[in-house]
């Protein structure tokens, strides 16, 4: 018990210490070598901007975070639905496979300018759709894999019980696929934030974090640009950690 506790303390402490050391070295380097802010601002300058511009960082985070969340939900719902249909209807699976494969290699943010013209430059719809598309693929692929992973012994058991295929699906297939679904969701959560953010670089409304990073950089306010980057990191971490927690809950009783 004590050993486990010590291990946990070290697991948390070690990266914290490393982070502090890196920040101190960074600060010393910027001051010591008199590095210009447009090359690399110091951590204290970024921190200063972060507290001063906290209001706009927070509102930018809300806008980008909301786009990512809508994308995550939309992509997840469609990913799950498509996966279920693919698992049930073989023809559908065969028809969608090439499309999904093609979709997986397309850099989806590249669609941003097209979608902005489609939905109007004043709407966030394009960004949400981009996030949804990025989310769709890992959720679809993982859920489908989970639905196909019924263990032979469970299949035999369901046959021995002479249950209907719907009962078997509900009893064995769906619960067995849940851990896979949540793994897909965890992978997708980071993609949702990244896509929603990068999509802002290509135009559209100006309220989000991505747009704020580009405009701060354009006005040579580099420390502020980094402060917005810091905000995006926090946003990405929040999405990741929440979906990671969901995954942990979903997989807590499955054999590793």
């Amino acid at each position: 018990m004590r050993a486990a506790g010590a291990g946990r303390v070290r697991m948390i402490l070690a990266p914290v210490i490393l982070g502090v050391v890196v920040l101190v070295l960074w600060q010393l380097a910027v001051v010591g070598f008199a590095i210009k802010p447009y090359v690399l601002p110091s951590p204290t300058a970024i921190g200063d901007q972060f507290t001063r511009a906290f209001g706009s960082i927070w509102s930018g985070t809300r806008v980008t975070g909301f786009n990512a969340l809508i994308g995550l939900l939309l992509g997840a719902v469609f990913g799950i639905l498509f996966a279920i249909v693919s698992a049930l209807v073989r023809v559908f699976d065969e028809a969608t496979l090439p499309v999904v494969t093609a979709l997986a290699v397309v850099p989806i943010v590249a669609l941003a300018p097209v979608l902005y013209t489609m939905f109007g430059a004043g709407a966030e719809t394009g960004r949400q759709l981009i996030a949804a598309l990025a989310v769709f693929i890992p959720v679809y692929v993982n859920t489908l894999r989970g639905l196909r992973q019924v263990r032979p012994v469970h299949r035999d058991l369901m046959r021995a019980y002479a249950v209907s295929s719907w009962q078997a699906t509900r009893t064995v297939t769906l619960p067995g696929a849940l851990p896979f679904l949540f793994t897909g969701l965890r992978i997708a959560s980071s993609l949702a934030v990244i896509s929603a953010l990068i999509a802002e670089y290509f135009g559209g409304p100006v309220a989000g974090l991505g747009k704020s990073i580009t405009s701060a950089a354009a006005y040579s306010n580099y420390a502020l640009a980094y402060a917005f980057v810091l905000g995006s990191i926090v946003l990405g971490l929040v999405f990741y950690l929440l979906t990671l927690a969901l995954e942990k809950i979903a997989t807590r009783h499955s054999p590793a």
Binding site: R151, H154, D156, R159, A160, Y161, V163, T171, H253, S254
Partner: protein, 294 residues
Amino acid sequence: MSNAVTVSAASKIFPLARGKRVVALEAIDLTVAPGEFVSLIGPSGCGKSTLLRLIADLDQPTAGRIEVFGKSAKQARIDQDYGIAFQQAGLLPWRTVTGNIELPLELHGIGKRARRARAAELLALVGLSDFADRYPDQLSGGMQQRVAIARSLAESPELLLMDEPFGALDEMTRERMQNELVRLCAETGAAVVFVTHSIPEAVFLSDRVVVMSPRPGRILEIVPVGLGSAGNRDDGLREASGFFAAVKAVREALHGVPAEEVRADSAAGVPSGAPGAEVLYASEAPAPRGLETR
């Protein structure tokens, strides 16, 4: 009353790629009386599991007929006339121990209270009452297998089909589980078809041992064991002379010759422990010394 199981002239052929095929079972005739314990034994690939799957209607025979309690195997499956346990416990990891035992009852529409009561009864029977609310990943392999056996008994079947249920367990746990199974069978009066590749296990448990040979799977011999009614069997039996005589008979049937030098399956199954370690030490330690003197 009709037999629990009647297999007549059953064969099973699995087609392979490029027109090849494997004859898994050929012309099998076998009957199992109600309440009788019959083991199927033989080397890997002799079709013993396939035969069990045919009786369970998990596979269909290529030719021949299989009846369970006078009905077709399919009808018996639909009527839930048998309980089944596999080598893997096959528990659902997201359900508690109770939830797993209740599974067949739940699927067949038994009410919640009746389910709870039956699960509690079965948990007591397999000695796991304290683990009712645990999840399978919190149990040892032996305990998981006991849950699987409790689940197979849930609907009080007249026939139990068991496919090497103790195959993955260590020898100690295995012997304890065998004792428990003998007791359970005495209490429930169910007929059992039990697949195993351990001679002592087959002899200890069975009224009759069906010895099979591979390629094609055939019945070589049916050895009547007759070590007395299930209720009288305990660990003492494992050292009785009748037990050894039956082990010898099965072994000879299995190998086709009087086999003094052939070791029983159980010898290979000795769990790794102190004695094994000693042997290793004794055989390895002198070697370096021998090299030194030379």
